[in-house]
Amino acid sequence: MELLKLTAKEAADKLHSKEVSCAELTKASLEQIKAKNESINAYITVCEEEALQQAEQIDAKIAAGEAMEPLAGVPYAIKDNICTKGVRTTCASKMLGNFVPPYNAYAAERLSKDGVMLGKLNMDEFAMGSSNETSYFGAVHNPYDLDRVPGGSSGGSAAAVAAGMAYYTLGSDTGGSIRLPASFCGVTGLKPTYGTVSRFGLVAFASSLDQIGPLAKSAEDVAYIMNRITGHDKMDSTSLDIAYPDYTKALQGDVKDMKIALVREYFAGADAAVDASVKAAVKQLTDMGAQCDEISMPITDYALPAYYIISSSEASSNLARYDGVKYGFRAEKFEDLTDMYFKTRDEGFGDEVKRRIMLGTYALSSGYYDAYYKKAQQVRTMIKQGFDKVFETYDMIASPVYPTTAFGIGEKTDDPVKMYAGDLCTVSVNIAGLPGMSLPCGFDEKGLPIGLQLIGKPFGEETLLRAAHAFQCATDYHKGGAQA
């Protein structure tokens, strides 16, 4: 269906010039969800009735000539760890399976103004995973090959965009959870600088690393979505009170004289197709006038263990709140209050969540705190310093998002360390709070999408968007579209 292939911006232009109605866009998306969700499993909750009502209101506003935001009326969906008022927000966990938030997350609230929300998207349980296989509601399947994973943890957010089940989506990224699924599903995703999108209403996993961001079909769409979701929010004490730019202004200009670093360590273990596509994409950028050098950042080899210690430690603390008292699941049979906590958490959390809580609790426990948690925080300082030094000379870093294309469902679930090891290109970005973007840059011999990662300085989103948009104006990889 042609309507579903439009980018969010193209759909908005057709909507606001009255070529299509909001009801038509919404119905087309809902029909696609009905046709595809059984096999892809991208949605946990579909808000059909509400979406059609919202569409009707927006069509009335357009008919009345009311001024609206650029993406107003373009149907979107939200990862299920971002609270939506009156709409179940499960975090893909049995623990929150019946949780209906009494408020909107900041980002959800911003989009809801003149917005059509199609529903809530599947993910790894509590956003802990790289494959979207840990969801209590079942794995998400990659629209390019249903036997493969979509990447995690925002697998539903990426698969929905790829399969035309939403024009754009919100995800969250703690160690690569926007960029990895964007890469595996051939869509464009951005993890913003820490503090630019309020975390108010985002179910906490690792508070010093978590960040909400957009997934869409193009860098242009991502810029428009960024305009809607960034800003200072007094409900999040880490939300930055700065002047936020108009990100769409970055969609002009070229990459001439942009300085790009290729960090050798990010290519370690990359398979041949990924290595070749990413290097070809960088060559494309240098052909367009950018400069590129290969450099080394040896500290990169320590980012994965530091990430898993820090994120699991914060998770063990954040998830202590799930006690079966105030909201969420409570076990039915128990002996006393303490036993209620044990049984509730045993029955409410899945295996991966328990492993992370255990690892974090271990790293924070007396006797191991200095060797693991404090050590990881010191390594965090060293990683930040490493990036600072690179960004003295370079405007951005280019790398693969993941060493391979989408792997098979079940391929890595038996070995947590093997699963964690894949995240080596993405976790450093969260450790240092930097912006990171994933955009399609090729396909392997099986036709599976390959992602290019661009890493920027703090608040370097505009540089990333400029480069990504210039790249997408010159190439067609982002038009891959698995929806046909």
Partner: protein, 95 residues
Amino acid sequence: MKITEKEVDYVARLARLHVQESQMQRLTQDMGNIIAFADKLGELDTEQVEPAAHSIVVENVLRADEVQPSYAREDIIANAPHKQAGCFSVPKIVE
């Protein structure tokens, strides 16, 4: 570092997680592998390095202590798994 079933049991208790007998061996093995993976951090000399809890400079955000509108009691309590007389209900803890 090698981790024993006894340590796993101890950590599980701290985390208020109940490890079923049938899962103990597997969890101990997984924990051991993950911790061995994290032991790589020990290779680095960090003696002179300040730990970083955040990637950005984070300061306390203060505001005046003023009464402001809050959520309705029934909206908040609506999600409680057990409630009674407008309150959260838990098992008896004092006889």
